[in-house]
C-alpha cells in the first residue's frame, strides 16, 4: 500500500488486519496520533483522510484498516501546522484558551474540530458540543475546548474575509 501522510509518501506491505492507527504509530513513527480505547468511542486517534480529489475529512484511525488508506492522503496532528511551523488556528486557540490539560485527547480533538469548522464556520456552543461528541476528554470538562473551537472559528472567518478583500 501507498499512503501520503503529512506530505510524505510511504510504501509498505501490511497485514490486512492492521488498523490505520497502528500503521501510523508502529510503521511510520507517527506517534503523535494515539489510542485511547478499543471500541471507537474516544476519538483520540482522529486524523484527517482524503482521496486524490476529495478534501480530507476526520476519521477515527482505529476504525479504518490501513489498506483502506491505500492511495489516500492523511493529515495527522504532526502535519497540521504550516510548513513554516505556523500553528493552525485551532491549535493556537487550544493554547490560548487552555483547552487541554494532560493533552492525550488533544490531537484527536483538534483534528475533529478542524473538520467540524469545515462544515460550519460559525458554530453555536451547542453545535460545537454536538459536533465533538465523538471525542472524549477527561480533564477539561470540555468548557475551554468549546470556547477554543468557537474562537478559532472567528479567527478563520476573519482570515477568510481578509483574503476576499485582498
Amino acid at each position: 500500500m501507498s499512503v501520503d501522510v503529512d506530505g510524505s509518501r510511504y510504501v509498505d506491505d501490511v497485514e490486512p488486519r492492521t488498523l490505520l492507527v497502528h500503521h501510523l504509530r508502529e510503521r511510520l513513527g507517527k506517534v503523535g496520533t494515539v489510542v485511547g480505547c478499543d471500541t471507537s468511542n474516544c476519538g483520540s486517534c482522529t486524523v484527517l483522510m482524503g482521496g486524490a480529489d476529495e478534501a480530507p475529512r476526520s476519521v477515527k484511525s482505529c476504525s479504518v484498516l490501513a489498506v483502506q488508506a491505500d492511495g489516500a492522503s492523511v493529515i495527522t496532528i504532526e502535519g497540521l501546522a504550516g510548513p513554516d511551523g505556523s500553528l493552525h488556528a485551532v491549535q493556537k486557540a487550544f493554547h490560548e484558551l487552555h483547552a487541554l490539560q494532560c493533552g492525550y485527547c488533544t490531537p484527536g480533538m483538534i483534528l475533529a474540530a478542524v473538520d467540524l469548522l469545515r462544515d460550519n464556520d460559525d458554530p453555536s456552543e451547542d453545535e460545537v458540543r454536538e459536533g465533538l461528541n465523538g471525542n472524549l476528554c477527561r480533564c477539561t470538562g470540555y468548557q475551554n475546548i468549546v470556547r477554543a473551537v468557537r474562537a478559532a472559528a472567528a479567527e478563520l472567518r476573519q482570515a477568510q474575509r481578509q483574503e476576499v478583500q485582498a
Binding site: E15, R17, T18, H22, R25, E26, K30, V31, G32, T33, V34, V35, G36, C37, D38, T39, N41, C42, S44, T76, I77, E78, L80, A81, L87, Q91, F94, H95, E96, H98, L100, Q101, C102, G103, Y104, C105, T106, P107, I110, E125, V128, R129, E130, L132, N133, G134, N135, L136, C137, R138, C139, T140, G141, Y142, Q143, N144, I145, V146
Partner: protein, 814 residues
C-alpha cells in the same frame, strides 16, 4: 537600573506544556521503542472467583514471533506480593496479592499469564494458545453480605472484613458523645457511593529496559518516586540500580497512584528474558485491572435541635476494597473520616468504617479519595434536615458553619482549619446564580404543576488537602511521609533549572513553577526550566496526588529559591561593596537601600560564582540550593456550588440549567490553570451524579468494561459552568495556597443530586440512587406517594431501585 516587573504569580500565563501537546511531539510511554524490545500481552481471568487447576503456556511458545511465556506458578517464588502502603489498623487483614495469580483468581481480569513476542499483535494472538483450567466458585459480590462473611473471598483469612477503623470525638477529646447530644430531630439516611472508574484517557503503559544489573523503567504513573522504592523493596534490585521515568502521562485522577501488577510483570519478564519489554494495556484491560474508586455504603445520622442547630454526626461505612488491598486503598475512606463534619460546628461526631473484600477489581484513590464521599453524605443529609425543619437549605447551613472570625477553628474531628470565609463564598455564588429568582420560578412551576420541574441544589464543602504532614500520616499508619522536595540550579548565564519531586500529568506544574521562580528570583518566566518525573534528575520526591503539589511541592520550591537568594545576597553585597544587610531584593534585583540604581541581579551573581575570581572568603562557588518541606498541617480549600436542574417528570430526564462554582483555594498562582481544574473536577462530579457506574453481573463479570457501557460524559452531556473565586490565603504556608485539584469533584456530586431531589420533593421523593439516569428518576417518581403530597413518606434508595441499591449487586440495573 529600575524595573517594574509585573508579578508572575497570579498571571494567567499560557502553558509551556502545550507546545508539544498541540503538535503531537509527545512522549507517552507507549511511544517508546528500544532496540530489541519485546511486546507483552497478558492473559486475564474470565472468572471472578476460581481455583487455578492448571496453566499450560507451552502452546504459546510454539506460536510465531513468541520469545517467552510464563504463568504465576513459574514465578511464584520470586514475584512477591503487591504492596499496600496504608495498613490503617494494627490487625488489618492483608492478603497476599501476587502480580500473576498462582493458585486462585479473585476478580474478573486478574492477570494469569504473560506472553512476550516480537510485536504486540503476535503476543495477543499467542494468548489464545495458553491453556488454563479453572475450577470456578461462587463469587462474593454483595457488599453487605460480604461484610457478614456470607461466602469468603480469601477463605484462609476466615473473614472478608479487612479492618474496622473508628473515630469518636468523645474518646479523642474533641467533642462529646453522639449519644449525649440534643436530638430533637434525627435524620437517618443510607447513601450508596457507586463504584466508579477513573478513566484517564491514556491507557497505562510500562517499558522495562534491563541493563547489566540496572533497570530503566518508563511508566504511565503519577508516582515515579514511590514506584522506585517499591521496585527496590519487591525485586531485591538495589535502589540505586533502578531509574524510574514518568514521561508524558495522560491523566491520572488517582487512577495512576498505584504499584500495578503490570509494572511488576513487565519487570519479571525483562529480567527473565534479558531484553527490553513493553506492556501497553487496551482500554478493556484498563477497565478490569486498573483500580476503581468509591464503592461505599454510607449510613449517616444527623441530630439537631428544632432551631436548626446541628448537634451530632454519626457515620457508619462499609467500604469495598475489592479482592485485595491497593496501595492506599484502605486509607481512602479514612481521608473522608475527618470531613463528615465538613464546615459545620458540631458537638459530637462518631465515624466507623469497615473495609470489606469482594470478588471485584480493587478500589483505591479516585479524585477526592474519601472526601467526595464524605461531602456527599453530609450535604445530602443537610438538605433533608432543612426539609424536615422547614428551613431554606442555605439558611440551615449558614446557621451551622464556622464564621470567618472564628478561624483558626478546631473541629470536632480534631483538625485545625486555618482560614476561610464561607459566607463570602456562598453570597457570591448566590448572586452569580440568581438564587432568589430561581426559587421564585420554582414556586411558580410547582403551582402550575409544570411537567418540567425546577430543582435547586447546594453543596458547600471543605477538604483537607496538601497531603500531608508526615507525623500525621505516621499516626494514621501510612508507610511514608508527606514532605516534598525542590532543587534550584542557577546556570552561569542566569537561566534557572528547577527540579521538583512532584510528578505532573496534566496539571501544568512546569508553567506554575516557572511563575513562582520568576517572582522569587527576579528572572524571566521563559528563563526557567522545570525538570520532573525522572528519578535520575529528580531523585527525591513523593509525587502528585491529593492536591499536594503546589501546597507542599510549591512551598518547597519557594524555600529553595529563598536559600538561593540568601546565597546570592552575600555575593551581591561583595560586588556592590556593601553589607548584605544594606541590600533589599526588589523588582528582580538586590538593590542598595537608598541607592536603587546600585543593583545586581541573580544572573549577575550567577556569573560571579561561575567565574569565582573574586568571592568573599568561605563563600561557596554556587548559588544552587534545595529544600524539603514538610507541612505542619493540611490546607483547607472550601467553596459553595449551586446547581439548577430541570427534571422532566414524564421521562425522568435531568437537564442542568445553571451551575455556579465559587471556590476559595487560597492564593492563586495561575487563574487559567485553576479554572481548568475546577471545570474538570466539576465534570467528574457531575459524571458521578448522572452518568457513571461500574456494574458487575451475577457472575462477577464487569459489564461496564468499555467506553460503550461506562459512559463518561461527552461535550454534549455537560453544561457550561460559571466559576468564580473568593480568596482567603492559607496561613499555614508562605505561598498562602490551598490546592484545587479535587475541589470540583467533591462539591459537584451532592449539588447535582440535591437539585434533582429538590425538584422532586413535592412528589414525595427524598432520594434517587446515583447515577441519576432518566430511568431511575422516573422510577422514583412512580414510587413516590404522588404529586403534591409533601408530607408523604420518604422514598428510600431501596424503594427507588430495588435490587440495585448496591453499586455492584448482580443484575443491578434490572
Amino acid at each position: 537600573m529600575t524595573s517594574t516587573l509585573e508579578p508572575e504569580v497570579g498571571a494567567a500565563r499560557r502553558r509551556k506544556e502545550d507546545a508539544r501537546l498541540i503538535t503531537g511531539r509527545t512522549r507517552w510511554t507507549d511511544n517508546i521503542a528500544l532496540p530489541g524490545m519485546l511486546h507483552l500481552a497478558i492473559l486475564r481471568s474470565p472468572h471472578a472467583a476460581a481455583r487455578i487447576v492448571r496453566v499450560d503456556v507451552s502452546g504459546a511458545l510454539r506460536e510465531p514471533n513468541v520469545v517467552a511465556a510464563f504463568s504465576g506458578a513459574d514465578v511464584a517464588e520470586i514475584q512477591g506480593s503487591l504492596p499496600c502502603a496504608w495498613p490503617v489498623t494494627e490487625d488489618i487483614v492483608h492478603p497476599v496479592r501476587p502480580p500473576l495469580a498462582v493458585d486462585f483468581v479473585r476478580h474478573h481480569g486478574e492477570a494469569v499469564a504473560v506472553v512476550a513476542a516480537r510485536d504486540a499483535a503476535s503476543a495477543i494472538d499467542a494468548l489464545e494458545a495458553i491453556e488454563v483450567e479453572y475450577e470456578p466458585s461462587e463469587p462474593v459480590l454483595d457488599l453487605e453480605a460480604a461484610s457478614r462473611d456470607e461466602g469468603l473471598v480469601h477463605p484462609d483469612k476466615g473473614t472478608n472484613r479487612s479492618y474496622t477503623w473508628v473515630f469518636d470525638s468523645a474518646d479523642a477529646g474533641t467533642g462529646t458523645s453522639v449519644a449525649d447530644v440534643d436530638a430533637e430531630v434525627r435524620i437517618q439516611r443510607r447513601y450508596i457511593q457507586q463504584r466508579l472508574i477513573p478513566a484517564f484517557m491514556e491507557p497505562r503503559s510500562v517499558v522495562v529496559d534491563p541493563g547489566m544489573g540496572e533497570y530503566t523503567i518508563w511508566s504511565a504513573t503519577q508516582i515515579p518516586h514511590i514506584l522506585r522504592v517499591f521496585y527496590a523493596l519487591l525485586t531485591g534490585v538495589p535502589e540505586h540500580k533502578i531509574r524510574v521515568i514518568a514521561p508524558d502521562v495522560g491523566g491520572g485522577f488517582g487512577g495512576k497512584l498505584q504499584v500495578t501488577p503490570e509494572e511488576m510483570i513487565a519487570f519479571l519478564a525483562a529480567r527473565r528474558i534479558g531484553r527490553p519489554v513493553k506492556y501497553t494495556e487496551t482500554r478493556g484491560d484498563t477497565m478490569v485491572s486498573a483500580h476503581h474508586g468509591r464503592d461505599q455504603i454510607q449510613d449517616i445520622t444527623l441530630t439537631a435541635r428544632r432551631d436548626g442547630t446541628l448537634t451530632g454526626v454519626d457515620v457508619k461505612l462499609i467500604a469495598n476494597m475489592g479482592a485485595y488491598l491497593g496501595l492506599v486503598g484502605p486509607g481512602v475512606p479514612i481521608l473522608g473520616a475527618f470531613m463528615y463534619n465538613s464546615i459545620y460546628k458540631v458537638e459530637a461526631y462518631r465515624f466507623e468504617c469497615t473495609g470489606v473484600f469482594t470478588n471485584t477489581t480493587i478500589t483505591d484513590a479516585y479524585r477526592g479519595a474519601g472526601r467526595p464521599e464524605a461531602t456527599y453524605a453530609i450535604e445530602r443529609a443537610m438538605d433533608d434536615l432543612a426539609d424536615e425543619l422547614g428551613f431554606d437549605p442555605i439558611e440551615l447551613r449558614r446557621r451551622n458553619w464556622i464564621k470567618a472570625e472564628e478561624f483558626p477553628f478546631t473541629t470536632v474531628a480534631g483538625l485545625v482549619y486555618d482560614s476561610g470565609d464561607y459566607d463570602a463564598a456562598t453570597d457570591k455564588a448566590m448572586e452569580l446564580f440568581g438564587y432568589d429568582e430561581l426559587r421564585a420560578e420554582q414556586i411558580k412551576r410547582r403551582e402550575a404543576a409544570d411537567v418540567v420541574q425546577l430543582g435547586i441544589g447546594v453543596s458547600t464543602y471543605t477538604e483537607m488537602c496538601g497531603l500531608a504532614p508526615s507525623r500525621i500520616l505516621g499516626a494514621l499508619r501510612y508507610a511514608a511521609g508527606g514532605w516534598e522536595n525542590a532543587a534550584v540550579r542557577v546556570l552561569p548565564t542566569g537561566k534557572v533549572e528547577v527540579v521538583t519531586g512532584t510528578s505532573p500529568h496534566g496539571q501544568g506544574h512546569v508553567t506554575a513553577w516557572s511563575q513562582i521562580v520568576a517572582d522569587e528570583l527576579g528572572v524571566a518566566f521563559d528563563d526557567v526550566e522545570v525538570l520532573h518525573g525522572d528519578t535520575r534528575t529528580a531523585h527525591k520526591g513523593l509525587d502528585t496526588y491529593g492536591s499536594r503539589s503546589l501546597a507542599v511541592g510549591g512551598v518547597a520550591l519557594v524555600e529553595a529559591c529563598r536559600k538561593v537568594r540568601d546565597k546570592a545576597r552575600t555575593v551581591a553585597a561583595h560586588m556592590l561593596e556593601c553589607s548584605p544587610d544594606d541590600l533589599e531584593f526588589s523588582a528582580g534585583a538586590f538593590r542598595v537601600r537608598g541607592t536603587p540604581d546600585a543593583a545586581k541581579t541573580i544572573g549577575d551573581c550567577a556569573f560571579a560564582v561561575f567565574a569565582a575570581h573574586d568571592l568573599p572568603d568561605g563563600v561557596e562557588a554556587s548559588l544552587d540550593a534545595d529544600a524539603t518541606f514538610d507541612p505542619q498541617t493540611f490546607s483547607f480549600p472550601h467553596g459553595t456550588h449551586l446547581c439548577a436542574t430541570e427534571v422532566d417528570t414524564l421521562t425522568g430526564r435531568v437537564t442542568i440549567r445553571r451551575y455556579v462554582a465559587v471556590d476559595d483555594v487560597g492564593r492563586v498562582v495561575n487563574p487559567l490553570i485553576v479554572e481548568g481544574q475546577v471545570h474538570g473536577g466539576v465534570a467528574q462530579g457531575i459524571a458521578q451524579a448522572l452518568h457513571e457506574q461500574a456494574v458487575y453481573d451475577a457472575g462477577g463479570t464487569l459489564l461496564s468494561g468499555s467506553f460503550v457501557e461506562y459512559t463518561i460524559p461527552t461535550a454534549a452531556d455537560l453544561p457550561t459552568i460559571v466559576s468564580d473565586r473568593t480568596e482567603t490565603p492559607a496561613t499555614s504556608n508562605p505561598l498562602g495556597v490551598k490546592g484545587v485539584g479535587e475541589a470540583g469533584a467533591i462539591a459537584a456530586t451532592p449539588a447535582v443530586v440535591n437539585a434533582i431531589v429538590d425538584a422532586l420533593r413535592p412528589y414525595g421523593v427524598s432520594d434517587v440512587a446515583m447515577p441519576c439516569t432518566p430511568e431511575r428518576v422516573w422510577r422514583a417518581l412512580k414510587r413516590g406517594p404522588g404529586a403534591g403530597v409533601r408530607s408523604g413518606p420518604a422514598v428510600s434508595a431501596e424503594q427507588v431501585m430495588p435490587g440495585a441499591v448496591h453499586a455492584d449487586r448482580p443484575g443491578g440495573e434490572s
